[in-house]
Amino acid sequence: MTDASPESFTNEIANAELLVTCGPGGVGKTTTAAALGVAAALAGRRVVVVTVDPARRLADALGLEAGAAADAPHRVTGIPGLSDSKSKKAKGANGELWALMLDAASTFDRLVHEQTANPKQASAILENPVYRAISGSLAGAQEYMAIERLHQLYTSGEWDLVIVDTPPSRHAIDLLEAPDRLIGFLGHPVYRALTVGQRAFAKVTNAAASMFLWAVRRLAGPQIVEDTVEFFRSLANIEPGLRKRAEEVSLLLRSDVASFIVVSSPRAEAIGEAEHLIGALRDGSFPFAGVVVNLIHPMPEPLTAADRVALDDLDDGPLADQVAWHDELTDLATAEREEIAGLADLAEDVVVVELPLLAVDVHDVDGLIGLADQLAAG
């Protein structure tokens, strides 16, 4: 093992109000987020876990089914030590775990409703074909919506702790810069020219904007031009609200109620991405609580020198298989520990929790409880 001190996330589990797990794909990020939720609920807190695209079996374990209903918090049942009662208890009196699945499009819809002055204004945006097509795919929309949902849940005051599992991000920066990118989009000169002080399409006089419209019409046809202009116009009504919200979220994520946990595996590609992400968190002054290295291969007990001699030159057969496998697993486990040591050095004074690759995959509530124990106790 590395020389990092014995570690756990006890402090975050007991005190954080916002936890964000981030990291590359395929390292058990969602499972880690869910296990942190279990640990905090067992510690007596009222917790909601926001997941993005969870694997089917994990979604089942959390009681989430695909579809619109999954976007609202669902009570997770079947965890010993937590009451399964649907009735709301006094905050903090008894631990509760809730979960939901992020739906970028319906989060955007909710944001539009919130930011518009009246239902008519809202439906002008919501029914626009361009909006319908892009609300789930606008630059950085999914990342932004994960953060937006976090803000909605945090400010509702209903939760002691909100945990958000982020979309896997190859370019780690995407998530953290999502609010800034949306502001950047709204500040684009062409967008501004289309929306500021213009009443009718015919009056678009700004050169960049008219060239833009001309280009879109030539490339994609006249229908989409009308829809686009109308969409941008109606979006202008909610722009100040979106801008203010993006700034609030940006402040909240850097405040001391928030904590970021980076999840990785010991594979070199994953470690490389985790290191990049740690750098980005530090550069952006986000509160970085620590690292979980998941899926570490166990180190076999070594063969003594005398045993080595006795096992030399075996003919093919089951024992030769076992010796070859012992050596192979030892090599892999050794190389992984070197990768982890490099990451632990980079992580400096933060928590580093190392979790073994288990003989079976974690998919159910029992597995989550086992993982929760390790995250809480180290």
Binding site: G25, P168, V190, V216, P302, T304, P318, D321, L332
Partner: protein
Amino acid sequence: MTDTGDLTDWLTSTRVAVVAGKGGVGSSTVAAAYALAAAREGANVLFVAVDGRPGMGPLLGGRELDSNDRILRKVKGAGQVRGRTIPADQAFGDYLELKGVGGMLRRAASAASLPMIAAATPGLEHLLVLGKIKELERERAADLIIVDAPPAGHAAPFLRSATGLSDVVQSGPVREQSVEVDEMLRDPARCRAMIVTLPEETPVTEALELGAELRADIGLALLPAVVNSCWPDRAGLDKTPAMAARSHKITLSSSAKAALASSTDFGRARLERQRSQIERLGQGIGVPLISLPRLATPRLTLHHLGELADALVAPMMEVS
């Protein structure tokens, strides 16, 4: 079903091979190994990285990929691997030029306003990249173009951009482009997909879903599917160390027994999982399976890539 007669036939059975898998399954590495295996068979291969993941050029023996088409590696007496990225803004410029669009429209549609145009026509960036790949395929820029598709669940939206756009865009060059890309995706002689997964429950479930989606929604034919990072299936791990020693007529010391048990017990459990997941994939995916070994290193080199290329053309698994 793909012909399994000749072990290398499938390598060049199509002109564009899109290699796709969820994040973390190693699909970029498999795409690189595929490029090397085809070059060894004499093919002139172009490796296209869609999202410009770092390290792929060096892994193939050349420099970091950029938008210039460069030779990464020549295989003595056989073919070569070239590599490049396709940035959406460049694909857009090339496309306008190809369509004879000049002057003011070119300027209006310059890289600076691409984000706006892309926002107005969702899926456009993906379509531009696919469109560029289609142009390369038409000009026969290579015997085989291997596309390292975007990871993490984005492979299907990427490929679906051609059909998805037709809902919003009803006329103009963007529509023409989406029709032409759609034609390429539906023709197995021109384009097929290789699905990459791991021998674990969740990745196998996702591979089965991706396979069904690519075939049904996009009409894309599949190459053999790849199960990456398989443990070598050592039958000897099914026994305890003491039983194994008896068949070698050896008696183990108690320290050797304990040491071997510490690796064998873990290996046996993982192997059982692996066998059952490979069986489940084979029954559901409808194409032959190729298993690639899990390499005993967390850091891949050119040498390891060669091992993976060897394994790609080894006999495939029987599909029940």
